[in-house]
Structure formats: C-alpha cells, structure tokens
C-alpha cells in the first residue's frame, strides 16, 4: 500500500521520482499524471515570473479534503498532489497530480476531479510579473463550470 503525498512547497518536484513511489505495487494497474506548468501566452507580454501566494493555514487542509473526496468517489490506491508556491518562471512546473488505481477510468476521472476542485477551492492566487507591472490573474468562469460537472 502506497501512502498519499499532499505537499505545498517552494522547490521543484521530480516526476520520475514521484512515479517511482508506485514501483512494485501490483494492485496498481493505472497511473495518470497531470503536470501544470507556467505558460507565457497571456495577454500580458514578457512574463518574467508568476508569483504564487497561498493561505498557509488553510491550503493543506483544503488539498487533503479534495483528495479525501476523490478517494471516496473512486477506488484509488494512492494520490500524489504537490503544489508549488513562490516565484516561478515560464515553463517551470507548478502542480503535480498522480492518481493510481486498479482501473484507468478511475485514475483518469479522479485526476481531472482533483484539478477541477483545486482550481476553484484551494486558496492559491497567481500574480503575473512583467517588466513594467504585476497583475493578479483573474479567476476563470470556465474553471467554475468544469468543477460543477462533478456535482
């Protein structure tokens, strides 16, 4: 039995090392990986960095709740959820979600569910820093809609 990992950290993560945690567990038939990265195709030109702020007292509890809800809904063997905070440059990794299950349907659905809830319920905020300005990223209606499909 592989333990869940739910972490908020400044440092980068290594997807190979995280995947390797599931090595040797023959109950796991499917692992789905999602990595969110800093992209630079915003209306705001010349993105230098993304600043990620969070609400430290609440963040881990919110992430644990999202993972617990996913595990109540699908037969998951293990979940890894790592979210970075602090300054991040374009192409850097922001978030990792690994969902492991006996079945791929559960692994796919739970992975999407966790990201949809994370994007609407977990207290993180992005700010885009350019040469001339820094602007808080607005929440997207489409994220709200994506979450509602699970209700």
């Amino acid at each position: 039995m592989v333990a869940d990992v739910i972490v908020v950290q400044e440092q980068d993560f290594d997807v190979a090392a995280e995947y390797a945690r599931f090595a040797g567990d023959a109950t796991i038939g499917a692992v789905v990986m999602f990595v969110g990265r800093v992209r630079d195709l915003n209306p705001q030109p010349e993105l230098i960095a993304l600043e990620l702020e969070h609400y430290p007292k609440m963040t881990e509890r919110a992430l644990q709740q999202i993972v617990a809800d996913a595990k109540a809904r699908w037969p998951l063997d293990a979940v890894t959820l790592i979210h970075r905070v602090g300054p991040l440059r374009p192409a850097e990794q922001i978030v990792l979600v690994l969902t492991a299950s006996a079945h791929r349907d559960a692994a796919y659905a739970a992975n999407a569910y966790i990201m949809d809830y994370l994007k609407t319920e977990a207290p993180f905020w992005k700010k885009e820093v350019t040469a001339n300005a820094s602007i808080w990223v607005d929440a997207r209606e489409s994220d709200q809609t994506a979450r509602q499909r699970w209700e």
Binding site: K57, I94, M115, K119, W125, W136, A139
Partner: protein, 82 residues
C-alpha cells in the same frame, strides 16, 4: 472578538493583511456590511458587486454562515491556483 485576514489582490487593495475586530458579527453577511461601511475601497470591493470568497476557520463559507466567537475569517478573491 474575531480576526480577519485578507489575501492576494484584496490584501493589496485594502492595504491590510490582518486585523482584529472587537465586534463579533453574527454572520458573514453582517461582517461584510460592517467592513463595507468603512467606505472607499472597502465599499468598492465588498459592496460593489465584485466577487470574493470567504472562509471561516480555514473552511470555505457562505454569506449566511454564522461566525463563532474568536474565529479567523478570511476574505479573498476567487482562487487561481493549479
């Protein structure tokens, strides 16, 4: 008494990260009315039709939720992580 914490854009616009309120508003809606009555940016952000979220003791809350004595209430913009 309750404490109120602000995050992200709201923290910057209001110019405040945290404060203690001697009053204990009964509900989130009462707290928002109290803060909006300060006028200026407070009214603009909290009573001007802008969207914000509230958490009571680190759990997402609604306007109608009761605020327990000594609670930490957080007010912040819709989240944008991931």
């Amino acid at each position: 008494m309750i404490s109120v914490v602000y995050f992200a854009r709201l923290k910057e616009v209001l110019g405040l990260a945290e404060e203690q309120l001697p009053q204990s508003p009964a509900t989130v809606a009462d707290l928002i009315d109290l803060l909006a009555a300060r006028g200026g940016v407070w009214a603009e952000e909290l009573a001007g039709g802008k969207v914000f979220r509230v958490a009571i003791n680190q759990e997402m809350a609604r306007l109608s939720d009761a605020i327990p004595e000594g609670a930490e209430v957080a007010i912040f913009p819709p989240v944008t992580g991931g």
